[in-house]
Structure formats: structure tokens, C-alpha cells
Symmetry: C3
Subunit: 140 residues, 3 copies
């Protein structure tokens, strides 16, 4: 009989590079520990699921003068890009990605605009359902 | 014998329109699913509980150029305002709103300045008490 | 037989004064309630663990015009500084502070640059381990 896996549920409201890294590092570390990772993207975060969106993510205004230095350092460290981390999670079979349906309507984003890794287009109830049964819940 | 209800506990530190929508959409979806919602407003978030404060909430500086477009779209969608969502939660009988007492002192806000929907003026211990027994805890 | 203590796990991504206060007020209130507090500092938050860093923390750009007023008010209230709160937590014996190792590498921060209150330099897995067993998990 299979044991219930531990579960992390993240609601990703922010769309800045630092916050996306934060979410994806937590998520990919979780899946590497054999935990389920449920990532629900809403508001500014949803842009990360639009084709080409992850590549365009920037640091927030307060820190923008550090952007070039950070990107250079990450390249030197051979650090994976956010999309690399997303694909790594996906390959584990333990990741589920949700795109917030009201946000899509609000920003005029269509299903065909989203990257193929998205598992479901859903409202907040889907996130609450998963999160209420998770071991770790965080808003990023 | 009544079953224990599931519970969401949100600490609302941010006062921007996008974050308040995020908190109130999660909260009102939770109460519509028969979950208890406990919302503790602190720091910039407390302004949302001051009379007229919710109506004055704006997008953060990084996104302010999208404010008019967002507000126009929300009207077209007949989307409820944050205050509408708050009243909807309140009507469910499952919402409890806490105003952070040290923040009130810090910003010189008095009890009579707050909207009537506030249930309690309390310190962080009240939030931790509720949150340590909740199924979902998030900082907004 | 000693009862398991309740536990709060905070991941501190932000480095601004308002967010650090939020984290430290939650943490010190938790330890005063005999809960364990686990604080994992990453990204901008890591600066708070660099010697002299806590004292340099500022409000975010959106609120910087309120900084002088806030600091004046906190002095009038004899409100503890963030470092005071950190030392209070530490004195309880219930606080554990983690510095994110990849962030240290990214920003070129060395172990000797950190304040002596840091308990461990660790990756995200250490946080997930603690958080998956905590009663309250929040990202600040």
C-alpha cells in the first residue's frame, strides 16, 4: 500500500524574477524530496505561464539596479533558469500547475497562450482544496 | 454532533489592491466552501479596515500603469469590489476580522476609525492561536 | 514525557524593514507562547543576517516617504528594534536561524560576514524538512 506523500501548495501571486526563483527552488527541492508540489499561478504570477513570459521576468523596481549583476552571477554558477527548474519538477511526475481562470479573463489570456506544462485552468476553490490537505502552504 | 470546519488563516500585511483582492478572493471562496476564514490585518494592510480605506487601495508602484485598464476590465466583468467580497464573507457567518493593535497605535488609528465589520482588535498572539489550528496559513 | 511543542516556520525572502518587523514580531510572539520558531532567510532577506544589515533595513520604495515618521513613532513607543526582537527570541532557546546557502554564494557572502545568532547555513531542503512538520508556515 503506497504511503501518502508529503505535499507543498504554493500560490504564486508575484511575477518578479526573485519571487519566481523562490517558488521554483522550493518546488523543485520538494519534488527532489519526493513531495508533491502544487503551484497555483494567479495575478502577476500568471504571466510566468504565458509562452515566453518566464524569460521576460525581471527584478522588482526596488532592486532593478542589481539585475545585471544577479544574472551574470547565476550564469557563472551555471544556475538553472526558472524554466529549467520547472521542467525538472515536471519530469518528477510530482508537479501540478494550475492557471487561475479569473486572472486569465481579467488579462485577456487564452488557453493557447499558455505553456504546455500547465495541468489545469481553475479557480481559487481548486487551490483551497489542495492546500487544505497540504503540509506546507505559502503565498509567493 | 457538528464536525469541525476547515479553517484558513490569513495575515494581511500588504495594502495594495492586488493583494487585497488576493486575500478577499481566497477568503470568500473559503467561506463559500463552508470553511472558516480568519483575516488578521497588520501594517499596510490595516488601512483596508479604516473607513474609506478599501476604496482608496491602489496597485503597487511597479504596476501602476495597469491600474486604469484593470479597473475598467473589472467593471466590464461586473467583478465584485473588495468591500463586496468582504460583505459576502461576513454574511456567511464564517469570517472573523482582526485589526492589529500595535499597528493601530503606530499609525494613530482609533477604534472608531475602523469599519463595523471588524470583530476584534488584537495582537499577534491572537493570530498565532488561530493559525496554529488552521488548515491553510498564508501571509498576503 | 515532554509534549511536542507547537512550531512556526517562516521563510524570509524580503529584506525591507516592514517585512522584517512582521517576521520578528510573529517569531518573538511565538517563542513567548512557548512555540518553536524556525526562521529561514533567503534572497533579500539574507541581508538581515549580515553584520550591520538589520540596522540598514529600509521601507520599500512605495512607502519610503513614511520612513522618518515610522521610526520616530517607534522610538516614542519605546518599541524594540528588529535586533532586540531577534535577541529576545534567541534568549528563549526556541529560535533556530537558517541562512540560505545558495543565496550566500549568489551574493558573495561568507560565513564570517554573518551575525553570531545564525544556527545553520543550509539549502531549501532544510527549510522544507522543518516546515512540513510545522503548525504554521508563512513566506514573508
Amino acid at each position: 500500500m503506497s504511503k501518502r506523500k508529503k505535499k507543498i501548495a504554493l500560490i504564486i501571486h508575484s511575477g518578479t524574477l526573485d519571487k519566481l526563483y523562490c517558488a521554483f527552488i522550493l518546488g523543485s527541492t520538494a519534488t527532489s524530496m519526493d513531495m508533491e508540489a502544487h503551484l497555483y499561478f494567479t495575478f502577476w504570477g500568471l504571466n510566468a505561464l504565458v509562452k515566453g513570459g518566464l524569460e521576460k521576468a525581471r527584478l522588482p523596481e526596488d532592486y532593478k539596479d542589481m539585475e545585471n549583476q544577479l544574472k551574470k552571477k547565476l550564469r557563472e554558477m551555471n544556475y538553472p533558469t526558472p524554466y529549467d527548474l520547472l521542467k525538472r519538477m515536471k519530469a518528477s511526475g510530482l508537479l501540478k500547475i494550475y492557471a487561475c481562470s479569473p486572472t486569465m479573463k481579467m488579462f485577456g489570456i487564452k488557453e493557447e497562450d499558455l505553456i504546455p506544462e500547465v495541468d489545469a485552468i481553475a479557480g481559487a476553490a481548486a487551490f483551497l482544496d489542495v492546500a487544505s490537505d497540504a503540509d506546507i502552504t505559502l503565498l509567493v
